[in-house]
Each structure stands twice: as C-alpha cells, then as structure tokens.
Symmetry: C2
Subunit: 295 residues, 2 copies
C-alpha cells in the first residue's frame, strides 16, 4: 500500500507557485480574505491562508467585518472588491452568520475573482468543461492528488460517497470530464443509496465525502482500490489534550491493508485545499492581466 | 411491459398549460424564437414550437436573421430581447453557423429568460438544486415522464449512458437531487467505460443518450428495469419514402420484452421537449411578473 502524502504534494505545489510568483515583475497577485465575526475555526483557517499566501509571495488583504454586518453591507463590500483592479481573488470565509444567505454571497463574488469556485457560474463551467472558470479547492485538490500519484481515471470506475455541492458533485463532474487523467465512469452514492457496499466494492477509485467517522470499512473496498478520504471528523478521545482526535470517513487501519493507495487524515486531502486556493489566485491574476491587455 | 407514452403525457402537459395561460389576465407569456439561416431541421423545429405555443396561448415572436449575421450582431439582437419587458423567454435554435460560438450565445441570453436551460448559470443551478433556474428541456422532460409514470428514483440505481451537456450531465444531476421523485444513486457511463454491460445490467432505471442506433441490447438490461431512450437516429431504410427510419439508442423489440417500462422512439422523450419548453416559458413569465411586483 502506498500512502498518498497530501502534505508533500501540497508543499511541492506551493514551491512551484512561489517560483512562478517570484518571476512576476511588478504587482504581485492579491487575495482578499473576508472573515465575518470571530468564529474560532474561521480565524484559524484565514490565518493559515494568509500564512501560505505570504510564503508564496501572494499579497493578502484581510477584511474583518463584525458579525453584525448586514447582507446589504456585505454585498457592498464584495462589490467594491469586485471593482478593485488591485484585487485578483476574493474569498469569503464560510460559515457566515445565520442572517446572511451564503449562496447569494458566493454568487455576488465576481466569477472572475471567485477563487473558491463557489459561484454558480463556476460550478456550471465544471459541467461544461470550460477551463476559464475556477474549480472549488477540495475537488481540485483531489484531482491533483490523483494526477501526482500516477492515478489515471480513464476506464476506471470512480465511486463518490456523498453528493455535496462543494465536494461530491464537483468531483463527480471532474472525474467524468473528457480529458487526460479523467474520463472515469462515475457513480455517486449517498444516504438514500440501497445496498451501498455492493456499489462501493466496484470502485477502482473510492472517494469518501460524507462526514461520518470511519464509515467506510474493509468489506466495502475492493482489494487494490485507490481510496481518497475527504472526511474530517472529530471523535471524542479522552487521551488527547483537546479531548478529541481527527478521523476521516474511512476506517484507515483496516482499509489501508488491502488498498493500493490511500490518503491519510490528517495529511491527505486537507493540505491540498489551501494550495489549490493559491493556485486559483495566481490563475485569477493571470486572467485579469490577460483581460487588461485585451487578450 | 408498459409503454411510456410521451405523446400522451406531452398532450396532458400542454392541456394543463393551456388552462393555466387562459387564466392569465392581460398580457400572455411571450417566447422569442431566434432561427439563424435556413437549416431545414431548424425550420421544422421552430415551426413545431410556434404551433405548440399558439395552441397553449403563448405569444411567439419569430426572428429570422440571415446566416451571414455576425456574432456581434446576434449578441445585440439577444441584448435587445433581454431588455424587452414584453419578452419572457428566448430560444436561439441550434445549430448556429460555424462562425458563431454557440456556448457564448447561450451565455448571452439572460438567465431569467433562458427557457432552453443552456446558460451556464442555469446548469449550475441544477447542481445547486436551485429552483429559480431553468432545466434544459430534454432532461426536464425525462424527469416528468418518470414522475407521471409512477417511477420514483429513491433508492434506485439510475445508469445514464452518455455524458453530454444537454442530456447526460443534467439528467444525472437531476436524478441525484435530494427531493421527492429523485434521490437516485447515479452512474454515468460513456465511450471510455470499461465492461459496460456489467454496469448497465445493474440499472433499475437505464437512460440511453449516446446517439448510437440500437446500441442497448437485451443482454445489457436487467429484467424489470425502466428504460428511457433519448436517442433519435436515422437508419437507412429503402422501404421508406424518406430512405430512412428513426430508431432510438435501444433495440426496442428485444429489450421491451424484458423491461417493466420503456419509452418508444419516436413518441417517447421527443414530444416532451417542446412541452417542457412551454412549461419553462410560462415559468419565466411568472418569475418576471413576480420580479416586476418587487417579489
């Protein structure tokens, strides 16, 4: 069994981006990070994104509206960033307070600056196989993990567990695309799927994104399969200082024994998302520059 | 075996829409039909749409630019229709001449008037399960055929043959939606799929949309399955006056013997597309009226 090391692959991508940004003369790519309120997880996510941006040489502009901001005010803030030629990418950190409609906010971000890939147009572009859009960071990261681990999906049966908008559906559409590395036969399973193990056992590549700790057990996996674990679940663990440990959607210890390749949790898909956010930001910068030149 | 009669179901929908439109006081819904050039198939399709609109009481406005129209001129024409408050739906008949980028034209149509459902935003909304958009007419028609034939996809394995943008991908996303009638486990197969019969034989509901005459044979179908045939293929037939006969993607005679329900070709999915176009037009009218009232 080979471990697919997300930390190592993310580090390689970050190094590539650093070299690419270093070669840019003049203004560097700029990512606006909007964090509403003081949610502890959001604070830590935004900090991580800021740190990685700095490492690469991407300018970050952190904007911290209070939790009391109205939706109209947040729209205005986004409109200003959309119009600001010095800003290439905009990320509005989720979750937003309950009084704000998240989907509407994501739709407000200009599709050309939507480095999170959550705008409806960019989701549509994934279905259309249109490369001018942005792919959401987690599914983009999974495709990159597969490509850099030598896994070609062509002719393979890819089974996706979970139909979420930010992982399940876009990864299914990506795996299905008619392009090198993709071209998979794709099945999407979910909570209403009957006879699930009989389906997951057919997977040459199994992608688990359902948010249920250690849900995928060895009997559900075909020997020799590639397993991508997107889950990040907190399981109570009194032996830990924090009182919990992180576990994926896959029962790693037993599944790892029989599969060909597997991502660990943590250290698999997780580190890829920030790397892909930076890749999208540099892409946004290139596209803006091209548009400014009338290209 | 039950025949799923598309003509009968389409007729029922058209009657419902006719009653609905009759009840509308004042201005009736208006559909703009743009046909570029004199392609014989396009002439016949647009005529059929005009005729059905008239039957329902939907006003149609047929616009016939010459084949020499430039892309910029076509954009201008669409912009004018987008801005025209008397127009609810806009359909640009495909195929367009080679010098015009079809995807760009579809994207130019306002998402709120895109009754063909080809705008990138409306495709994204299908993935987002957002009902404010428009679903492309063929996949919408398939869902309606299933619903009106008492086929609930919940817990069923739906296998889609074909990954096209106008049928395969949207029908997969629709079947997957978390809503009454849908909730299927969905597999998408295509030209690069290995061991295809083993996969199609698992289908409780098999949707064939690959454009290959009689490709699906009895060995590929599980006894008791529901089979939806989206194909419309012309096969040379000297016994016919036209020199050809129409056939679907399914070998009807042998498959019909073992499945529970099946759509014929012609008279299955085909008649549904125009009915769904009209349904979308009436929906666009309602949404415009609501928006005008500030709703």
């Amino acid at each position: 069994m080979d471990l697919i090391d997300g930390n190592q692959i993310a580090t390689a991508i970050i190094a590539e981006l650093k070299a690419e940004v270093a070669a840019i003369g003049g203004r560097k790519p700029c990512l606006a990070l909007v964090r509403v309120g003081e949610d502890p997880a959001s604070i830590s996510y935004v900090k991580k994104k800021e740190k990685t941006a700095a490492e690469i040489g991407v300018t970050s502009r952190v904007i911290l509206p209070p939790v009391s901001i109205t939706q109209a005010e947040l729209f205005k803030l986004i409109d200003d960033l959309n119009a600001d030629a010095a800003v290439d990418g905009i990320l509005v950190q989720s979750p937003l307070p309950k009084h704000i409609d998240e989907v509407k906010v994501f739709r407000r971000v200009s599709p050309d600056k939507d480095v999170d890939g959550f705008n409806t147009i960019n989701l549509g572009k994934v279905a259309q196989e249109d490369d001018t859009g942005f792919v959401a960071c987690t599914p983009a990261g999974i495709m990159e993990l597969l490509a850099r681990s030598g896994v070609d999906l062509k002719g393979k049966h890819v089974v996706v567990l979970g139909r979420s908008l930010i992982v399940g559906k876009p990864i299914a559409l990506l795996a299905l695309q008619k392009r090198a590395g993709a071209n998979g036969t794709v099945t999407v399973c979910h909570s209403a799927t009957a006879n699930l193990p009989a389906i997951t056992r057919q997977a040459d590549v199994l992608i688990a994104a359902i948010g249920r700790p250690e849900f995928v057990t060895a009997e559900m996996v075909k020997p020799g399969a590639v397993v991508i674990d997107v889950g990040v679940n907190r399981v109570p663990d009194p032996s830990k200082k924090t009182g919990y440990r992180l576990t994926g959607d896959v029962a790693f210890a037993t599944v790892a024994r029989q599969c060909a390749k597997i991502t660990p949790v943590p250290g698999g898909v997780g580190p890829m998302t920030v790397a892909m956010l930076m890749k999208n930001t540099v892409k946004a910068f290139r596209m803006q520059a091209l548009a400014a030149r009338g290209g």
